[in-house]
Each structure stands twice: as structure tokens, then as C-alpha cells.
Symmetry: C2
Subunit: 176 residues, 2 copies
């Protein structure tokens, strides 16, 4: 993993990839799959995401206020779905799915070595948690894997359907 | 446009497509391009999105509390970028880009006939508008175009780069 400028973070999350969210509490790490996230600010990068109270990660995220968003490439699609199909309540998912943990620099939640990018996040706003399960995260440290520069990501379409990134196009957009 | 069950709405927005947002006030319609959106609830479908105070649509959305989210297919990519590159302050974008307006059923903002789906939305929560420009919308009526059933969408990667949907895959996900 190579350090990535925080100003580049939005480019990872804007296209709407399925991501992994890792948390850790009392020596126990967990990882969940997540599609409901969006950027809310470029710099510092703020990300809104929805973690349901029904998710095992919910209590840990609310208590520790720290997590990692890891972006998996399409080659991990089956693993991502398997992660989403079970709960950390009953499964040590890192062991079950053979994911390699790497210590983060700024937060107490593991990076996922196999992912193309990892974003260390702190919870900065919990006012919408009760109503929507919506956490606002600040990305405080970002990493990417230069060897996966052109990796394709997956996008959730519901009911087991996913789309893999296709052709990239360049247009004269004035947006950042 | 054919009516779409509200329970199907998340399948349009989960994959993270660039969308169009239409608004209307005092007989003047406008349309902007938007990438910062996410689902926050399945049923009724709730969508969070960020509209900057700098956007011309911001004041209209806050005042009227109504909008339409239109999902364009990749064939409209150049038009979508052109829409994002100018402001409704100085341009009648519907005229400038030859988009066909269709009256909505439940809100006072136009559907965009060329898009593969149109979601009529009411603003249901403005508590995060001041801090993040974050509006929570409820989709109260949804439409799709059956002739564009397999249309590909575009995903924003920043700086003029977009990805077009590629291959679809089916995996045994237990997620809705």
C-alpha cells in the first residue's frame, strides 16, 4: 500500500463501488460489505455511510468511532458477497475468508491488504445515526495499491446482481 | 415511461450512477448533474444527496422541497457533462441541450424523457443542509423506460474521467 493524498479520496468513492468496512473492539476485528456510502466533502474528505443497527459492526463503530473503508477489486467479488452473507457475531471473517490484515496508522481497525485502496476513517458526526444509521466519517489517512491501479470495481444492483466496471471515457468536465 | 414499484428504486441508485436532478420554481425549470447520492432506506425509498449552496438548484430545492432524480444512460454522457459545466443562472439547460420535459405526477419538477428512469422526490429532512448541503429525499413516485432496460450508466471518477458499466455478474448474495 502506498500513501494517497487525501484530496484524491473522492475519486475512489464517487463511482459507487461496493466497499468493505472494518472495525475493531477489544481485540476482535470485523469486516462487513457496504454499498450505501457517498462523498459529502472533498477536503478534508468526508464520507456519509449507512450502517444498520442490525449489523454487528454498528455497536463497534458507534463506540470506537473508528473504521477503515477498503475498496475491493472485482477479483474479490465472491469474497465480498460471502462477507455480506454472514455476521461477525458468529464468524471470524478475516480467518474464514483468508484476508490479510495490516495495521492502520491513525485508527484502530485493520487495513485489508488485498484491496486496491484503504481509507482510515474517524466518525465525526453521529446526529443522524439514530434516525437513519447514517454516520459521517472523515478520512484521515488514505492508501492505495499501485499494482492495482487499473483494477475494476463492482457495483451492487440488488438481488445478487453486480456490474463490473467497463470502458473508461474522458470528457471535458469542469467538475473536480 | 412505465411506473416502477417504489421497492425497486434502490436498484437504480445503489450502483452509483451519475444522475440528473431537476427542480422548478416560478415557471422556471432547471437541471443539474449529481454524483453525491446514496440510498438510506429501502421502503419507503429514502435517498440522501449533497447539493452545494453554490449550485443554482440549491435555493429552489430548499424552498420547493421537490425534485426529480433522472438516471441517464451512457449515450447521454456528453449531455450530462455539458449540463454539469454550466449554471441555470445563465442557461436554460432544457432548451440548450434539447431535453424533453414530461410533467411529473406528484411533484412540481419535470421528468426527463430521455432518461432510463425518473424518481419523483420530496425533501423530508433538511437538518443536515446547513452543515453538509445534505438533503434527505423520499421517492414518492418512480418511472422507468422499458426500452432502456439494459442500458449502461456512467460513474464519475473525477477530472473528466467516467466509467461505463461493463459486464453484469450474478452471485449468491443474501442482500436485497
Amino acid at each position: 500500500m502506498r500513501e494517497l493524498a487525501l484530496s484524491e479520496v473522492y475519486r475512489l468513492l464517487d463511482p459507487g463501488p461496493v466497499v468493505l468496512l472494518t472495525t475493531s473492539r477489544a481485540g476482535r476485528d470485523n469486516v462487513m460489505a457496504m454499498s450505501w456510502h457517498m462523498m459529502v466533502e472533498f477536503t478534508p474528505p468526508l464520507v456519509a455511510c449507512v450502517v444498520s443497527e442490525a449489523d454487528y459492526s454498528f455497536a463497534t463503530l458507534r463506540a470506537t468511532r473508528q473504521c477503515v473503508i477498503a475498496v475491493p477489486a472485482a477479483k474479490l467479488a465472491k469474497t465480498v458477497v460471502a462477507i455480506g452473507n454472514c455476521s461477525g457475531r458468529t464468524t471470524d471473517k478475516f480467518a474464514a475468508f483468508g484476508l490479510t490484515r495490516v495495521p492502520a496508522r491513525r485508527v484502530n481497525a485493520p487495513l485489508v491488504s488485498e484491496c486496491l485502496a484503504n481509507l482510515e476513517c474517524e466518525v465525526v458526526d453521529t446526529r443522524f445515526v439514530k434516525r437513519y444509521g447514517l454516520f459521517v466519517l472523515e478520512v484521515v489517512q488514505a492508501w492505495n495499491d499501485p499494482t492495482q491501479r487499473n483494477a475494476r470495481t463492482i457495483h451492487h444492483r440488488g438481488r445478487g446482481e453486480f456490474t463490473i466496471d467497463g470502458k473508461a471515457i474522458k470528457l471535458a468536465s469542469r467538475m473536480p
